[in-house]
Symmetry: C2
Subunit: 153 residues, 2 copies
Amino acid sequence: MTIKQAAQADANAGVRVWKRLVQAGQQTMAAVEADLKAAGLPPLIWYDALWELEQAGEEGLRPFELERAMLLAQYNLSRLLDRLEAAGHVARCRCPGDGRGQMIRLTDAGRLLRQTMWPVYANAIHTHITVHLNQGEADQLADALALLVRPRP
Amino acid sequence: MTIKQAAQADANAGVRVWKRLVQAGQQTMAAVEADLKAAGLPPLIWYDALWELEQAGEEGLRPFELERAMLLAQYNLSRLLDRLEAAGHVARCRCPGDGRGQMIRLTDAGRLLRQTMWPVYANAIHTHITVHLNQGEADQLADALALLVRPRP
DNA sequence: GTTAGATTAATGCAATTGCATCTATCGGAG
DNA sequence: CTCCGATAGATGCAATTGCATTAATCTAAC
C-alpha cells in the first residue's frame, strides 16, 4: 500500500466515523427528546441546566459559568434562563462583588423538576443506548468517543 | 458482583456513552458548520440534500424520498427545498404519474455548489475527526456507532 | 481619579424549527 | 362512477436560535 493509499484509507475511515457519529447522535437525541415530551416533560436542555445548578450547590452559578459548562452561546443561555425563571425553576439573584453579574440558583420547584425528569431520562438512555451494547462494547465506545471530545480550554 | 450491581454498572456505562456521544456529536458538528461558514458556504444540510440529489441522478427524487433519506420532518424538508429553489440549486418539476407530487432535480448551479463545498467539508472532517484517530480506532469507533444506529424501516 | 478596554448579560430583529392544519390528489370499496 | 380514508406537500403561527448591538460594570494604566 502506498503512502497515498494509506492516507486515502484513513480519510475514508474518518468519513465513515463522521457519518455514523452524526446519525447516531441525531437519532438517539431525537428519541430521548421524544420520550421526555411523551411524558409531558420539558426538553433535555432544561435538565442539563437544572443538573449543573444542582451540582453547583446552594450559592448557584454565574451565567457565564453555566454557559461554559453547557457549551451554549451566551444569548441562548440568557434566554434559556428567561424561560426557566418564568417557569419558576431558577432565581436570578444579585451577585455580591460583581454588579454586572448574577447568581443563578435552583428553586425548590427546579430541584423537584429535575428529580421528576430523571427516571424518564434514565429510562430513555437505557432504551436507546444501553440496550444496544454489552459492557465491553459500551466501555470501548465511551473510550473511543473520548478521543474526539475536545478538552475544555 | 450481584445481578443488581451488574445492572448498575451497565447503566452507568450507558450513561457515559450517552454523554460523550452527545458531546462529541455537538462539538464536531458545530466545528464543521463553523468551518463551512468561515469559508462563506451554506450549512451542512444543504450539502446533504445536494448530495442525495446528485446520487439520485437525472430524474431526481420525490420530496418524501429525500425526507426519509435525510431523516427530516416533512415541513422542514419543504422549507429547505424552498430555500434551495430560491437560491437556484434545485428545481421542482411536475411529477409524471402523481399529480400530488413533484420531482426535485439538481440544477447545474446545485451540482457546482456541492463540488465547491466538498473540499471544505472533507477538510473539516479531517481536522475534527480523522486527525484524532488512528486507523484501528476509527474502524472500531465506526463499528461501535453502527450498533446504535437504528436500521431504516 | 479618569479613562480606555475588557467582561457580563440583555435585547431587537431575522432566520429557522416545530406544530397543527389545510389543500389536492390518489386508490380502493361499494 | 362516487365516496372515503390515506398520502403528498404547503403554510399560518408560535417558539427557538443566530447575529449584531447595547448597557452596565469592572480592571488596569495613567
